[in-house]
Amino acid sequence: MTAVSTYLLTGMALFLVGLHGLLTLQSMLRRIIAVNLMGSGVFLVLTALAARVPDADPVLHALVVTGLVVSISATALALRLHGAIQRHREDDDS
């Protein structure tokens, strides 16, 4: 077991934990967090793969930096949509 393989497996485990949460949790906020965890799992797999190379693979690092920014913008949009949906429901109820 090398460090790379343990981190690879951890990334996969995080992805699956997130996927499980996305499929089973009822609360919208938790589902959005679950998607974030899935993203972190993917990033961890990518970075672990980058660490196989002697000086760490800059191409994969650049990909993950980009991915981090995309994931926060997607989270912001998802949270805003969640707020809009909830407001819509409240309007219907009243």
């Binding site: 343990t6 951890t10 906020l29 967090i33 930096v65």
Partner: protein, 310 residues
């Protein structure tokens, strides 16, 4: 592996998994978000451990800092429903996850053999001298794979536009009236922290060409400074209708597109910088991108919407 490394890895991985599970399955929303912030910090340590300081910086600022602020804000204006899953079904679903994990692990574990002479990183290292910057990650982001970064800035812009489209119209959660006045201590602290954050952001941008750091990290830190000042009521509402704000959000992608178009029409091809112009062009694009990323992230996190017509 040395014994110290094993202890470090085991601690980091254990914390990562426990906190990840905790964020999803703890009962209270506040605890969940606090655990998410902690999860982000541990992940930043993992990036540092895996030899990725750029990622560690970006994760600490974006993943742990700004995303948690976003989640806290969302949790404060939407009420949460309780989570309840029948225990039997939960047990079954975890069993399913375990089976999938083992099945995937058998395939993925084969990927973990070290690569001695990788083709892509060798290409990057070989052409680093021509790229105009000294840091390989920055070279990839703004020269070799500049396309990705350009499109990514456009994704950020799209997210901002979508965010504006579903803006809140009949609620004002951040009004001065409905929001309690910030405590003096918070005001004083944010007043002394914000300049430090601005200095740090500028430093990250400036260092980006030769070591870890760059436009994304700098933009995120600047956005954090803005959000801090907004939360403590030190800055007035930033109106999206102001042309300066729109210009700031657009300048990064616009400049990048201009360079891309100019290099396609007059030069070798899309984003193929002319000889000797790489360094100034990259620095210019990075500076403009920092401004746009900072403004966009600040808008996304602080959720300015007060200026929208009723």
């Amino acid at each position: 592996m040395a014994i110290a490394e094993i202890i470090l890895d085991a601690t980091l991985i254990g914390l990562l998994l426990v906190m990840g599970l905790g964020t999803l399955h703890t009962r209270r929303t506040g605890a969940s978000i606090a655990l998410f912030a902690g999860f982000g910090m541990i992940l930043a340590l993992v990036w540092a451990r895996l030899g990725a300081p750029d990622l560690a910086l970006a994760e600490a600022a974006i993943g742990a800092g700004l995303t948690s602020a976003l989640l806290l804000r969302a949790a404060s204006i939407t009420e949460e429903e309780e989570i309840s899953i029948p225990a039997r079904r939960q047990w079954l679903s975890w069993l399913f996850v375990a089976v999938v994990f083992v099945w995937l692990a058998l395939h993925v574990i084969r990927l973990s053999t070290p690569v001695d002479s990788p083709s892509l990183p060798n290409l990057v290292a070989g052409h680093l001298a021509d790229s105009g910057v000294d840091h390989p990650v920055t070279a990839v982001l703004l020269n070799f794979r500049a396309w990705d970064t350009l499109l990514e800035l456009l994704v950020l812009l799209l997210a901002l536009l979508g965010f504006r489209q579903v803006a809140r119209r009949n609620q004002h959660p951040y009004d001065a009236d409905s929001h309690p006045a910030p405590w003096p201590l918070l005001k004083a602290w944010s007043r002394s922290l914000a300049p430090l954050l601005v200095v740090t952001g500028m430093y990250l941008l400036w260092r980006g060409s030769e070591s870890a750091g760059g436009a994304f990290q700098a933009g995120a830190v600047l956005a954090a400074a803005f959000v801090l000042l907004r939360l403590s009521g030190q800055l007035p509402v930033v109106h999206w209708s102001r042309w300066t704000v729109r210009l700031a959000a657009l300048v990064g992608p616009a400049l990048f597109l201009t360079v891309a178009g100019a290099s396609a029409l007059a030069g070798e091809g899309w984003l193929d910088y002319p000889d000797g112009m790489s360094t100034p062009l990259i620095l210019l694009i990075e500076a403009a991108a920092t401004v746009s990323i900072a403004v966009t992230l600040a808008f996304l996190v602080s959720g300015e919407e007060e200026d929208i017509a009723e």
